[in-house]
């Protein structure tokens, strides 16, 4: 479904991604791991259109992605969350979802909005101002809710579990699992926590200094010495 070939991204002298090749099929749940600054978020930016690669090709269901502007990628079924939550300003939680549905999915369905609010656990906060009425875990939930409201085929989750306490994290993981099963989505999830990746994914891709250094099952990955070396070199708390 998603096919990236030899994607290279540079920022000035820095090479954030070097010849990244990656394929993700429909309904796959892929973990994307790697130390801080490895280029994980940059890869999401390339797929969603916020970063322009210097070289390489990207396609989604055989459509050339790189020719499509950001908003058009949402409409063909690619959704993402932001590592630092970005609730739409000046709007309520419900209005955030309405914008996502109207423009991303291309239709209005009030019942579906209520279902999503229920699903992400924000029904009681629906009429709150999204930018200043929510706690961190609720912000992360809203990120997922906005992405779901666009009715995507592929959803890119950027550290949606980071910063949550254990109980919240467990609950959120259940939500993600259900989302994957019920909606039949393909998911790429960036996550530093090894346990989480082991629990969620059948496949994990490791980025290090902008290069894919492994693409295996999570069990194999965390037995791989090269991966562990790059991980232990990571900043603590990552």
């Amino acid at each position: 479904m998603l096919r990236l070939e030899n994607i290279t991204v540079g920022f000035g002298g820095l090479t954030a991604l070097a010849n990244v090749t990656l394929e993700v099929g429909a309904r796959e749940l892929v973990g994307l791991v790697g130390p801080n600054g490895a280029g994980k978020t940059t890869l999401f930016n390339v797929i969603s259109g916020l970063a322009r690669p210097k070289a390489g090709t990207a396609s989604f269901n055989s459509v050339n992605l790189l020719r499509k502007p950001v908003q058009a990628r949402a409409r063909i079924g690619i959704a993402r969350t932001f590592q630092i939550p970005q609730p739409l300003h000046e709007l309520t939680v419900r209005q955030n979802l309405i914008v996502a549905q109207t423009f991303g999915a291309g239709h209005r369905n009030a019942r579906r909005i209520d279902e999503i609010l229920d699903f992400i656990g924000l029904k009681r906060k629906a009429e709150e101002n999204a930018a200043d009425g929510l706690a961190l875990s609720e912000h992360k939930a809203l990120e997922v809710g906005k992405a779901l409201a666009t009715e995507p085929k592929l959803i890119l989750l950027d550290e949606v579990l980071a910063g949550l306490e254990t109980a919240g994290k467990r609950q959120f993981m259940q939500t993600l699992k259900r989302m994957h099963q019920e909606a039949g989505l393909a998911i790429i999830i960036i996550e530093h926590d090894i346990e989480t990746i082991l629990a969620l994914c059948q496949r994990a891709v490791v980025l290090d200094f902008g290069k894919v250094i492994a693409d295996q099952t999570p069990e194999e990955i965390f037995r791989n010495p090269a991966v562990m070396r790059s991980y232990t070199g990571a900043t603590p708390g990552a």
Partner: protein
Amino acid sequence: MQQRTIITIGFVVLFYGAVPAAFGSTDYVISSIVAALTIAGTAVAWALLGNLGGMVSFGHAAFFGVGAYVSALLTMNAGWPVFAAIIAGGAGASIASVAIMPALRLRGPYFALAVLAYAGIFRILATEMEGITRGAAGLLSIPRLPTILGFDLGTNIGSYYVILTIVLAAMAAYAWIRRSEIGFALLAMHETEDATRILGVPSTRLKAMMLVLSAFITGIVGAFNAHHISFLDPDYAFSGVWTVLPIVAAIFGGFRTVSGPFIGALAIYLLDQFVFKSLLPTGHQIILGAALGTMILLSPDGLVPLLGRGLGKKRHAAT
């Protein structure tokens, strides 16, 4: 919602009933109110682009003047009925706005400067295209507003009803858009443009729509004014006044609210005419500037939010 309905009804009764009843026979007062409403209409259009589109325009005089010339020339040279020509004037201003669309990709001060330069071009065109516009000599005896069902709209009181209806219709359209999905998306774009586009919002296209609509409203108001005063020349039609006064009015009243530009225009213009001018016959604009400065210090969001706070209303997101 209840409160809003009551305020709206009170508003309509006041402006369609009480104001004409009180001042209908005082030509000087009513013609000043017509002038204030002309500023108000342009201020509403400017604020629509500023608040929803996130664009600060220093070029609304261009839309005002284009609307005025298109409508005047259609009635004088092509024999169009006045109201049809006024709508064509709005359409003409919308078409003129297409020329500035590439600038929508510019941000903040760059957009403002581009529009300023753009606006200057139309005054030059109107002056130079003498064959059509009669150049600096201007257009005299532009047809006045017609008589409908025995009611002469060309009188001051008739014109009052016409411009009032134009301004209120513009405000209704503005309020409706603001509460629609398009309005939500536009508001969200101010602070979180990437996050909004990621959800599929075509940001530039929505901004362009607001520009076209803002130009349309301004063109209609300019066209109305041309038929009301029955005279045009390039310096008047494209005067910086049509840019500056609406901005002052909108900011004074509160450009983030739908009623702010309207209230601000009435307050600013009428205070200027009836108070500041008698206090300081030359240079009374200085008091206007001071009044605006005081308002910004007192309430950066303008008069209407200030009154709202006074009434103890809670501010809700995008409602």
